[in-house]
Symmetry: C2
Subunit: 403 residues, 2 copies
């Protein structure tokens, strides 16, 4: 049968829209390196930030009966739903049972939103720079993407208006990571959040509120989430995850959406993975029930602040006057912008050889608008290694600029 | 904001195609019952068939370091990939590393196939009766479904030819559960498998080979899988899962597809869930590495045969002459057909009140072609309870027919 096989498969038109993530290809590249590298590239929590012992204990407690390994309810396992509702009480993401669907991480929440709302050719706005894997999900549903500038106050609402005027049609979805944005580290101001909701209401656009880092604030004053500000407006579709606050490998997150979408979400999820894996749901529920989260978050916030400060100090020491960078009040990332002279994709190879890894700015823009920028993750590296890594980065910049 | 909210959300055209599964709504209904019910409805392994202790041990051994909770490689965690390749050696599903993608259960494999191949309006053939959740996945991509009759030798290739002639175009995907089919319990004969591959090659159609039960043969002679018969033909896309042979709640399965699809599968999966949950991958890998699978399968096969025989005997005792049923050589299900007199959807309520649950035939047919049939799962109920359940079913039939 191998001699007369067709050379091409009958792929759907969507196949052209399934783009690879530079983040993931960088992971693969990094996995192959054997020399010492300070890894500012990935957005994983630090290994020491994963509550391994408590999760192990949760496995011992929660994974005893056969029912822990059976199919789960598609909307999520009741013990987790209960523990989650309790965990959210009093926070800016407080919600009610009928709004919740447990998902396979935040990414499945984005996939569900795209699946429910996007028809091929629909306009979807993404931030510029944007979280690549999030915008890739919209692209996988053959959306037309428009990039909306992000500054120190988050997504620019003026730029959003201009883009929509230029497109001559309203967006189906407005995709945003409003708090400690990936990759810029900046947060949308309260005024802009309110303005965004106002605009979305006028346009009938869905606001895809992807907020994985909101609970990791280590400085500044809290800003209400888009979920809270929406106050039940069905146009806000909120995606959350335990990936950054407990562990990403569990693949447990949740969608908080209008109850009128509940059945559709269940139907859509049934045809995607039947249900979220139950052992991980039980482990998260046990972790929450045992009351570990609050202390865990307090520890992480302190540590991430130390790391952010170490990175800022090192950047000031080594790159002052040659680059600017954002000053995040939480989350994992900051964004470094060089003058127009430096190509951060070209720099990557030298930097990697010099023992430091980052993600080039163009990875965060479908239109490749950030050739002179890069993203650094400060969260996964201890302060002394951060100082070493930034020094290596500065040496790589020197070397490339000297050519 | 609640006063002026829009009453409708801007759903995509796909929303009309996201259908609920009767199987899942039956689960919810069943979960609410408090009286004694013999449950022939669901397709879960028996609670006593879940290797709880060995999985607990796998959790203790495999979930120790932080790396067990980090993001996994999108294509799957290397230890699981290695253990899986070894497990498949010498079986009808033997394969090579570059053909494998680890998925969130078999369902994600079906979702990936649909995502890669289906454009709205494409013709997809499904079996009649079909595995509902599988055909729902094709429907979620707005395929046009054609139902192809299944008999005691599996999907009828003559019926497939006729349907394609009638449609006036070739199918993009031919969806089949060739072995111990869900819901009929019958298997496609070797001759039909060969004929199917021949036809698919001529048409350039992808054969979506969904075979979750193939390793659970307890009678009759083995038949090569479509994967094996295809001998590397890129048109065969095989979906497999650990759900029925270890535990469904783990949500770990795999796709075995042409290596030319590898990158596309990774890109598609990245935008669906980033990666399959890592703790479950580690647990399955540990379970396999410890050598538990072979003995576990041997035990299950013996037990499932006992249960199937108990069900056949009870059906003969209670329903001879009033219904016919299939005689599966493996898997979980058999299919009962009443004469044209009995409405199995109307029967359901009476049966449930009498303490027995099943899935009505129409749940397995988009065109609702099976009003007088029903699916029974023999795998999850011990023999004495099976006898009691079939007696209750017969009493319910009596009661409905006496009206």
């Amino acid at each position: 049968m191998t001699t007369d096989t067709p050379t091409t498969l009958p792929l759907g038109s969507r196949a052209d829209y399934l783009v690879g993530s530079v983040i993931d290809s960088s992971t693969s590249l990094l996995a192959k390196q054997t020399h010492d590298i300070v890894r500012f590239a990935m957005g994983s929590p630090a290994a020491e930030a994963i509550p391994t012992e408590q999760l192990g204990e949760a496995a011992r407690t929660g994974l005893t009966g056969a029912d822990a390994f059976d199919y789960a309810a598609t909307e999520g396992d009741p013990p987790l739903r209960t523990a989650l509702l309790e965990m959210l009480e009093g926070t800016t993401d407080a919600t009610t049972d009928e709004r919740l669907t447990i998902t396979a991480g935040g990414m499945q929440g984005l996939d569900l939103a795209a699946k429910l709302f996007i028809d091929p050719g629909d306009l979807v706005t993404v931030e510029s720079p944007t979280y690549t894997n999030g915008s890739a999900t919209a692209l996988a549903y053959q959306a037309e993407l428009a990039e909306i500038e992000v500054d120190e106050d988050g997504m620019s609402i003026d730029a959003l208006r201009v883009a929509v005027d230029r497109a001559g049609r309203t967006p189906k979805l407005i995709y945003t990571v409003p708090t400690f944005q990936n990759p810029s580290g900046t947060s949308m101001s309260l005024a802009r959040r309110q303005e965004l909701l106002e605009l979305a209401r006028g346009w009938g656009s869905v606001v895809l509120d992807d907020d994985p880092y909101g609970m990791l604030r280590f400085a500044g004053d809290p800003v209400p989430s888009l979920h809270e500000l929406a106050d039940g407006d069905p146009l806000v579709f909120s995606v959350r995850t335990f990936s950054k606050i407990i562990a990403p490998g569990l693949r447990v997150g949740w969608v908080d959406a209008d109850p009128s979408l509940g059945q559709l979400l269940i139907h859509a999820k049934q045809s995607m993975d039947t249900c979220t894996n139950l052992p991980a749901q039980r482990m998260v529920a046990e972790f929450l029930r045992a009351g570990h989260l609050e202390e865990h978050l307090a520890t992480q916030r302190l540590e991430y602040r130390r790391r952010k400060e170490a990175m800022q100090e090192a950047l000031t020491e080594h790159l002052s006057g040659r680059a600017t960078w954002t000053d995040p009040e939480g989350g994992f990332f900051l964004w470094v912008s060089f003058g127009t002279g430096l190509d951060t994709e070209a720099l990557f190879e030298t930097a990697l050889a010099d023992g430091v890894a980052y993600i080039p700015g163009n990875a965060f823009s479908p239109g490749r608008r950030f050739p002179h920028d890069l993203r650094l993750c400060f969260a996964s590296t201890p302060p002394d290694r951060i100082r070493e890594g930034v020094a290596r980065l500065a040496r790589a910049v020197d070397a490339v600029e000297a050519r």
